[in-house]
């Protein structure tokens, strides 16, 4: 009887010891797992100006190959005007550890639409050339401007704002110089006024040049848009026949495309008007010179109309 009691006690002690050991090991494993010791993934963050179109679960690509996903999005800072980073969008990215060596301190992340014009955005990472330290868990990636139609259109809108202001300032000066008896004389006599006109004309000239470059970018994107559109509409058609929910989604996509298309059209029409206006200002500056050439102290010094006027000056003092 005494021996049996002793055996029971040993069994109970063994059970408690074993349970404690298992609990300890499991806790240790859980703790290490939580710390990421056994994890096959690691976390990076990236701070974007705008998170529109980016959602948790969105793909993270490296040179177009999927390497992870967006875990969460948060706003940085606490609001208010003091902190310049306040209100920016912080993306927490989960990346497969096997791709860790590809992502270095030189890598740049940017948002794009990988499928078509209206698909959700994904985050693509590029590493320009070798070098740089490999990023570890918790490090922050550098970001660059998004490479999609919204960003280009937004750039166009900003550019047009600048051009508007420039053209308005020139308008003022050209208006001032419409009366050849007063203001043109003043302009010729005033270096300051002349410099303002010249700076305005030059700025419009360079802005028009800049505008053409932006349009070039849009043009290069247009092929992608065109190609994506067919696939998108085909997909929308198929799904609309199949089920109502997908139909609603397709309508939303269509509306999105509509908004973009209308926005593109409006911007391009305005851009065209501004380009014409810019060229018009250059012509106005030219017309101004034609008027100046009629002034008494210049008249008669001009080469005959029709030929090609050449100065051919002698040397002098």
């Amino acid at each position: 009887m005494k021996l049996e009691l002793h055996r029971h006690r040993n069994l109970l002690t063994g059970f408690f010891v074993a349970t404690a050991l298992v609990t300890f090991v499991v806790s240790l494993v859980l703790l290490f797992h939580k710390k990421g010791v056994f994890a096959l993934q690691y976390n990076l963050s990236a701070v974007f100006e705008n998170g529109v179109g980016l959602r948790p679960g969105a793909d993270v690509l490296f040179n177009g190959v999927k390497i992870g996903r967006v875990e969460s999005l948060n706003l940085s800072g606490r609001g208010g005007g003091g902190d310049v980073s306040s209100g920016k969008v912080v993306l927490n990215l989960v990346i497969d550890r096997k791709f860790q060596d590809f992502i270095t301190s030189r890598s740049v992340a940017f948002a794009l639409r990988d499928k078509n014009l209206v698909s959700d955005r994904v985050v693509n990472i590029e590493t320009p050339g070798p070098g740089g330290e490999i990023l570890k868990t918790g490090d922050t990636l550098m970001v660059s401007d998004s490479r999609d139609i919204e960003t280009v259109l937004s750039g166009l809108t900003n550019l047009m704002g600048k051009m508007d202001a420039l053209i308005n300032s020139i308008d003022g000066i050209v208006d001032m110089s419409k009366d050849p008896n007063t203001t043109v004389g003043a302009m010729l006599g005033s270096r300051e006024l002349y410099d303002r006109l010249l700076a305005g004309v030059n700025n419009v000239d360079s802005a028009v040049h800049e505008g053409r470059q932006v349009l070039g970018k849009v043009h290069s994107l247009s092929d992608t848009i065109h190609m994506a559109l067919g696939g998108l509409l085909a997909r929308a058609d198929t799904t609309s026949r199949k089920m109502l929910g997908t139909m609603e989604q397709a309508e939303k996509l269509g509306a999105h495309a509509n908004v973009l298309a209308e926005r593109s059209e409006t911007i391009l029409v305005r851009m065209d008007q501004l380009m014409v206006q810019g060229a018009g200002k250059m012509d106005q500056a030219g017309d101004l010179m034609d008027a100046v050439s009629q002034l008494w102290f210049i008249r008669g010094k001009m080469a005959a109309k029709g030929g090609y006027p050449v100065l051919l000056n002698e040397s002098g003092p």
């Binding site: 270096r191 043009h219 298309a261 050439s293």
Partner: protein
């Protein structure tokens, strides 16, 4: 599904392709050149440069070699007035003048560039080559000969150029040869006569609409007045010349004129300030040869320092600036 999306996008794509710049209008190059000449005559050199550059751009786009040459010569003349030798050289080096007349003008402009850089022997050999090619255009030939005489007067002693000078001034006429006469009179040490002639030249240049040369003549007049010992009048003329250059936006000629102040200023404080300002500007402007300019002024004043024939009352000016290496 369909909807208006494809129509809008198609319209957007069409608008994209349509938004690119339209083809240049016909005869834009001569029109821009006319505007450039108007701006030049009005003393608006920056605007003139812009129009001449547009004229050249249009000529290149249209592939018109004659226009390319003329537009380039306009730009070269402008840069020579602005004393921007680097830009003038770049323009001339980029021009391939195949036609004989254009090649003669090209050589002439290169000689003017050499003259600007004070390479007088090269300037003379280039203008001789230009004259050999310039058959038929009497007006251009006379201009070239007047320039050749300028180079000779600047480089040689009087017996070398005296006879040729007399023959040329008869051919060119009194009015046209006024700047050359002024230069010759100064070279002979007749500063009072030279001063009068430089003032006549100012009128001549004003009529031609060459406002940079008006200021240049005024500065030459200041040199003559200084040589005559009329320092206050010289300082006033020099200040006016500097102001005109500033109004025209011609920085290098303005600085060249301003350098004369280093010789004219009597007050040591003013002199020190001028020197500091000039040192700063010289450091900023690549290729601005202040010492060379002072040497040139010194050369012009040499007759004044040794007692010239026109000097009233035997009063000797004092070109003894600490910056003159060869007084």
């Amino acid at each position: 599904m369909g909807g208006p999306a494809p129509i809008f996008l198609a319209a957007a794509l069409w608008a994209l392709s349509a938004a690119f710049p339209p083809a240049a209008r016909a005869d834009a190059s001569p029109r821009h050149a006319e505007r450039g000449v108007s701006a030049y005559r009005a003393g608006q050199y920056d605007l003139a440069r812009m129009f001449f550059a547009k004229a050249l751009q249009d000529a290149v786009l249209k592939g018109r070699e004659d226009w390319i040459a003329k537009a380039t010569f306009n730009l070269v003349d402008l840069e020579l007035d602005a004393e921007n030798g680097i830009e003038a050289a770049r323009l001339l080096e980029g021009l391939r003048a195949r036609e004989t007349g254009a090649r003669a003008v090209w050589l002439w402009k290169r000689s003017q560039l050499a003259f600007l850089r004070r390479d007088l022997s090269r300037a003379t050999s280039l203008i001789d080559s230009a004259l050999a090619l310039a058959g038929g255009d009497e007006e251009a030939e006379t201009s070239m000969r007047l320039d050749r005489m300028r180079y000779l007067i600047r480089s040689g002693s009087e017996p070398v150029w005296s006879r040729e000078y007399q023959a040329l001034r008869k051919k060119a006429g009194r009015k046209r040869s006024a700047p050359l006469d002024a230069m010759a009179a100064a070279a002979r040490g007749r500063f009072a006569r030279a001063d009068t002639l430089w003032r006549e030249s100012m009128e001549r240049y004003r009529e031609q609409g060459r406002l940079a040369k008006v200021a240049g003549s005024l500065n030459q007049s200041a040199i003559c007045l200084f040589a005559l010992g009329r320092r206050a009048e010289a300082a006033e003329a020099n200040a006016r010349a500097v102001a005109i250059f500033a109004e025209l936006g011609l920085e290098i000629p303005g600085l060249r004129a301003q350098a004369l102040r280093l010789l004219l200023a009597e007050d040591q404080g003013e002199l020190a300030k001028l020197r500091r300002d000039m040192d700063l500007l010289v450091g900023r402007l690549d290729g601005f040869d202040l010492q060379g300019i002072l040497d040139e002024y010194s050369h012009s004043l040499r007759f004044g320092a040794t007692g010239n024939r026109d000097q009233p009352g035997g009063q000797s000016p004092d070109p003894g600036s600490p910056f003159l290496l060869h007084p």
